[in-house]
Amino acid sequence: MQSFEFQRARDALSAIAAGAKSGTRFVAGGTTLLDLMKLNVERPEHIIDINGLPLDEVEPLADGGLKIGATVRNSALAHHPIVQRDYAVLSQALLAGASGQLRNMATTGGNLLQRTRCMYFRDTAMPCNKREPGSGCSAIGGANRTLAILGTSEHCIATHPSDMNVAMAALEATVHVQGINGERNIPIADFHLLPGSTPQRETLLEPGDLITHVTLPPPMPGKRSLYLKLRDRASYEFALASAAVVISVEGGRIARARIALGGVGTKPWRSTEAEEVLAGQRVGERAFRRAADAALRDARPQSQNGFKVELARRCLVHALNEATR
């Protein structure tokens, strides 16, 4: 591990000023950062510990929504009574991710910045455009069984690994950021970037930007929500395909649906295509299959992950069936 200078943040403003210096990383849970530092994939020169900042509260908002501080731990968020009652899909997604130990460490803000598990990104002996722009993509034509089929480019096919962000996408969360030029509110659909020709750029964050909190809109009236995750083993494994569903049904017809997929996209994959197909339709397998077809219409499988197209379709259909049962 490369050596670095360590400091504790005393307040947000001084952390942001110090964080704008090149080669600086904020640390909260450390579960991604320390892992990648040991692999020499992350090589920060300065680390600022933000655990002392007052960002660890979950608070109801006046409009009926919810404010989640950036350093709220995944376990605390998953077991929060308001989240369990009004945003079940988020609680389920969090508990489907990682292990009990990691969920006690990993934070809301940190999970928004979780890095891919693509084995070539994690191996400094191999070319990777995300880690070393211009070096090439080893995964295209390589070991790509677990990698993305949606949102890929000729430069990168790395899967976004988060479960939490998939639920956040279906819940239409907003990411609140404080930077050297003030505060910004970023819809989660815009927060993560497609790889395109710059896979090293994964989010809209600029140097010094500090995620302070995430807000959720008030729960959809009459909604039911569900997170379904399919993987190689039953627990403690990343998704091959997952689906977050938030849906409201009136008189046997779908009033509103919010759909996002995980394990298949280069970013948490909101599918407005599936949502449009579902709107106004009678609840049932027929509409669900058409929605799943729409969600996967643009899928571009690689040499080893063609199975994910059908797996993701079935995952979404099953999630919709379960959520409307």
């Binding site: 360590f6 579960t31 320390l34 009990g100 403690y236």
Partner: protein
């Protein structure tokens, strides 16, 4: 990281401590004044500096759970956190939960159920299980397996581990 074992001194410290950070860690109720290279993980600090070697290093990447300790009562992977991030925290290791005479109920249950073979993962399993007693976890064996999935046992002692934990839960 290349921390070596140092003889106990006024400061327990990593060698070549340029840029070292002074801090006090509270481990199993005892205060340790340290001066650490900031790269030192909590795990390496416990094992190599404070010489509490009950906590084990398996994968060193948060995948196996052998390094599980408690920070302020919550179980965490000591390999994925820096020691310098824990000034003021209450850290508990396997050495802090029971003693050869008065075993912790989870330790006694592990002995009663032979919940190990080689034993390398056992301290991490026990630290996870002790934390589990206070966590939301359903009643079934499947619930226990899900909650314990962050602790790998390469010998495959899982059935006995689950039985031991269920016995300890029934008594707590």
């Amino acid at each position: 990281m290349n921390a070596r074992i140092n003889p106990p001194a006024a400061f327990e410290s990593t060698p070549a401590a340029e840029g070292a950070v002074p801090l006090t860690l509270r481990i199993n109720g005892n205060e340790h004044r340290l001066r650490l290279d900031p790269r030192t993980t909590l795990l390496d600090c416990l094992r190599e500096i404070v010489l509490l070697t009950g906590t084990k290093k398996g994968c060193d990447h948060g995948q196996c759970g052998a390094c599980t300790v408690h920070v302020n009562g919550a179980r965490v992977n000591a390999c994925l956190t820096l020691a310098v991030m824990h000034e003021g925290d209450e850290i508990t290791t396997i050495e802090g939960v029971g003693q050869p005479g008065p075993l912790h109920p989870v330790q006694a249950a592990f002995v009663a159920h032979d919940a190990y073979q080689c034993g390398y993962c056992t301290s991490g399993q026990i630290m996870s299980a002790v934390a589990l007693l206070e966590e939301p976890c359903g009643p079934t064996d499947a619930d226990v397996r899900e909650c314990m999935s962050g602790n790998i046992c390469r010998c495959g002692a899982y059935p006995n581990i689950v039985a031991a934990i269920q016995q300890a839960r029934s008594k707590s």
